[in-house]
Amino acid sequence: MNQRTIVVHRDVQADQKADAAAERERLGRRGTLVVNLLSSPGAGKTSLLEATARHFAGRRSMAVLVGDLETDRDARRLAPLVPVAQLTTGGACHLELPLVQRGLKALGDPVVDFLFIENVGNLVCPASHDLAEHLRVVLISTTEGDDKPGKYPKMFRTSQAMVITKLDLLPHVPFSVEAVTADAHLIQPQLKVLTNCALNGSGIASWCEFLEQQHQQQLAQYHEPAGNR
C-alpha cells in the first residue's frame, strides 16, 4: 500500500468566490449596484426597502431578491412597489449565489440601478457567503443590544456600512448610538454609520444619497477606458 500526501493550500470557498466575482463584474458593467442587506430577524430590512423604493420611485430603478426560510410574505409586501422575487431556503440559514442567480433569472435578469438582496435574518452564517454584492450593509435596530457588533465580529468586519434602524424608539429603549458605533468601529474602523426610521421617513434621504454615491464610486471601475485599466 502506498500513502501519499497531496499539498493543496486552497480556500474551500475559492470556486464560489470566483463565481461571485464574475457575477459582480457582469452586473457592475451594466450599471447595477448589488447591495446585500443583513441583520437579525426583525431589524427592519423589508421596511427599509419599502422606504427606499418609495424614495427612488420614478428616479432610480431597483429590484429586490428576498430570502427567507419559508413563505413569500416579504415579497408580497414589496411587490406593489418594485420587481421582487422570493428566495426560500427551505430552512437553510443563509443565501448562496446559485439561489440569487435563480432569483435574477425568475425576474427576467432586469437591468436596474440597484439590486437589493435581503438576506435571511441571521448575523452569523450569511457573513461567510459572497453573493456578488458590491456593497454589504448590516442593519441593527434600537430594540437590539448596542453591544452586538463584538458578538458577531465577522458580520461587522465584512460590512462597509451599518444602518441603525427604528430610531423613533430611541427615547424608550436603553440603546446608545454612540456605544454601538464605538463597538463596531473596533472591528471595522472604516464602517460608514447611518441612522434612520423607515416608519416616519427620517434619515431615508441620506441613506438613498449614500446609495447613489456608492453607485457612482463602486461602478466607476467598469466605465474606465480600456487603456487606463
Binding site: M1, N2, Q3, R4, T5, I6, V7, V8, H9, R10, D11, V12, Q13, D15, Q16, A92, C93, H94, E96, V124, C125, A127, S128, H129, G150, P153, K154, R157, H185, L186, I187, Q188, P189, Q190
Partner: protein
C-alpha cells in the same frame, strides 16, 4: 449552521484531487480554520462525520487546526495578530488594516492510500 455547506465544498474539492491523482482511499483531510472564518469547529467536525461516509470511507479523518487572525497595517506595514477582534494597528494606531490570514477555511492537504506502485510523496 452553514458548516454543512462548507463541508460540501470541501468534499467536492477533495473528490477532484483524488480523481486527478488517479484514485485511492482518502485517509486524512487536513484543514485550517481561521478564527474569523465564521466556522464553529465542533459543528464543522460534526458535519464532516455526518457527510463523509456518502463520499469517502468513514475511516477518512478530518485534521482541523485553528488559525489566529493576522493583519498587516496599510500605513506602516506592521504585521500583527488580531486580539479580541480589534482591528487597529498597535504600532501606529490606524484602523486601515488588511487581514492576511485567519478569515478562511483552507484545504491544506489530502492523504491518499492506494495500491498502485507510484512512489509516494513523504507526508
Amino acid at each position: 449552521m452553514h458548516e454543512r455547506s462548507l463541508i460540501q465544498s470541501l468534499l467536492r474539492q477533495v473528490e477532484q484531487i483524488v480523481a486527478t491523482e488517479g484514485g485511492g482511499q482518502v485517509a486524512e483531510i487536513r484543514v485550517q480554520v481561521g478564527d474569523l472564518s465564521g466556522v464553529e469547529p465542533l459543528l464543522f467536525q460534526m458535519a464532516f462525520d455526518d457527510m463523509v461516509p456518502a463520499v469517502f470511507s468513514s475511516e477518512c479523518q478530518l485534521a482541523l487546526e485553528m488559525i489566529p487572525v493576522t493583519a498587516v497595517c496599510s500605513e506602516c506595514e506592521h504585521q500583527f495578530e488580531i486580539v479580541d477582534f480589534q482591528f487597529r494597528c498597535p504600532a501606529c494606531q490606524t484602523g486601515s488594516v488588511q487581514v492576511i490570514q485567519g478569515d478562511k477555511v483552507k484545504l491544506i492537504s489530502v492523504t491518499i492510500n492506494s495500491n498502485n506502485s507510484i512512489e509516494g510523496i513523504a507526508s
